[in-house]
Symmetry: C2
Subunit: 411 residues, 2 copies
Amino acid sequence: MTLLSRQHGPHPYFGVRDDQLVVAGKTIEAIAASIGRTPFYVYDRAAIAARIAELRDVLPTRVDLHYAIKANPMPEVVQFIAPLVDGLDVASGRELTLALTTDHSRADISFAGPGKSTAELDQAAAAGIVVNAESTRELHYLASVAERSGTKPRVAIRVNPDFELKTSGMKMSGGPKQFGIDAEQVPQALEEMRSLPLEFFGFHIFSGSQNLRHESIAESQRNALDLAVKLAAHAPGPVRMLNIGGGFGIPYFPGDRRLDLAPIKANLAAVAADAAQRLPDAQLMIELGRYIVGEAGLYVCRILDRKVSRGQVFLVVDGGLHHHLAASGNFGQVIRKNYPVVIANRVNAEPREVANVVGPLCTPLDLLADRMDLARAEPGDLVAVMQSGAYGLTASPLGFLSHPAPSEVLL
Amino acid sequence: MTLLSRQHGPHPYFGVRDDQLVVAGKTIEAIAASIGRTPFYVYDRAAIAARIAELRDVLPTRVDLHYAIKANPMPEVVQFIAPLVDGLDVASGRELTLALTTDHSRADISFAGPGKSTAELDQAAAAGIVVNAESTRELHYLASVAERSGTKPRVAIRVNPDFELKTSGMKMSGGPKQFGIDAEQVPQALEEMRSLPLEFFGFHIFSGSQNLRHESIAESQRNALDLAVKLAAHAPGPVRMLNIGGGFGIPYFPGDRRLDLAPIKANLAAVAADAAQRLPDAQLMIELGRYIVGEAGLYVCRILDRKVSRGQVFLVVDGGLHHHLAASGNFGQVIRKNYPVVIANRVNAEPREVANVVGPLCTPLDLLADRMDLARAEPGDLVAVMQSGAYGLTASPLGFLSHPAPSEVLL
């Protein structure tokens, strides 16, 4: 691990050589030269594989690992990850199409999302994947598809739990929510399923994402099993699949502490042993997106201009919020904080200075680093935003101000 | 004007007929049927023209009106607006290409942006448009282009003023900023220009956007003239163009009061008369984007599902933050507020209810209306987000979760 930023912690995968950031054995200048232009996103196969290996060590045999494509749907990334995981989770028809290009069995592909269109439900039923039904409307629509087509769609119930994931970056359970069927309404939905031509597969119990506290994740995993056992009593068949969610966070901001996997490993072993007794037919799974790819990617842009305005340094770069909305602080952050940002071709160089990194857009929102401690930089130098492998390019307003799109490579 | 939402004010352009929202004389159901799918953005030519006519009444002859393409770069919209305004402002090379497809003289097209690439500066110089130079680096690069090509690029200086636009939605002046050259450094930059093969055109003094207080706008217009007069003393030639900014806001949120144009008209008349004395060669201009198109557009989606979760109603629609980031509250808002949202095919129907409108994405951020008073709605009904003509589609993360893009029509 190399300390890359003085405000942020060390990075687990990327090193520094000749004071340049190194990704997949190549210096950042060499990568930029081989791409031929900036800005770009670069993702590192070895980092992704290393992260999945760490996860494999944490997960007992009875707990499968699924990749949530939405975190990074770049086709090369999906193709690289697919053989390393046990299944794929999709959030739209187009993601489903992508999942179908892999070798995964249809039973290992699941589709969640609170607003599936009828076209998407038709597609999912035809493909034979598992639909995580989020409402009784979806159950009835899938039943009508079954009657029309003679198929028997595989359906899991997405449950809006009656507990919440504590201290989660993004809570998705525990109160009124658009996700899934409220736990207390699930017995009724399962009762309705008995008379519908659907194959009951199990439960999807997802309580939140981007959590850095192992205690909260462990608690939500235990709660998910308990809830599934309770609901299984009402099910029209055995629970074959139990998705106990994901939620593993990665450190983004100054002060964020890396998630401790050891207690999660111990907890999952206990949960899996417990599940073997209480839900003997169920394959457990966790579903991770950001945790698999988030730390394996960088966004890199080049400094176009260096300005000093009323005592502050502004490094104006050729990329910005139109390519990386989250790093600008405009995606779910209430108070803007800096992502880890470095001068990538002179990471630890002296002298240092406090500088702002701003993009080319005519808006003060286009801010990639707000008064950070950086190596003193000049036009031509490269700026890297770390922790950019998930929810980067696809979660950004690419068309804003009609600038060119960044390149995207997997190395 | 028709009262569309009980929490928001009346709308100046769109009416209601048979309890349906009416755009360009057509009911929203008829428009949806003719587009053949949802979601979509629809922009109304007549509303745009009416808004420009209102502005013409406010602007003295000596003050030109420019359209800032970034607010809505849909080619049909740009083509419609172009003959109704005196010039176009662009913020990228691609916007410049679009501007060049109109009949405007090259001297009436200007290019601002703090991070122009060398390719964009080459393009601007070749086209002969006015570059609003934001740094001495841009001045020197343009001079090098001039020496290479034998042209004499038209250059205005974008000034980071030493005053600020008070109570602006987005401040862009008055402190350390990436925009323009600090007012106190401009005399030095003008001095440098004397020896460079550049045609001095004037000043661009832009102090902020989305302001609803006429006093602040009027004050910044007077300040811009005073500053330009002061700086003109150092200029290598007469000031031929003075862009005194824009900043006219539109009401988005409950409690927002519509901008009062009457005092702005009076102020502009005084500023123009003053300018005729103090900068006799200067054509003044204001540059507006959002104010021209913002209220002329709607985003429309269809309800897919209606869910009640723990006492709250969720209307799940087929569009969301991936199409309309600003309406979800994730674009520059610190505290999320509701855009005006209506059930567009039963605007004032009874019964009413308090409901959330959420999109299809697997994130709690995908929220278009947070506990709003709406007509009770069912799957199949249409939801319209008003005030969506500016910074809608292009300012949204279209690729997020790989859902289909919305349609876009000008009626």
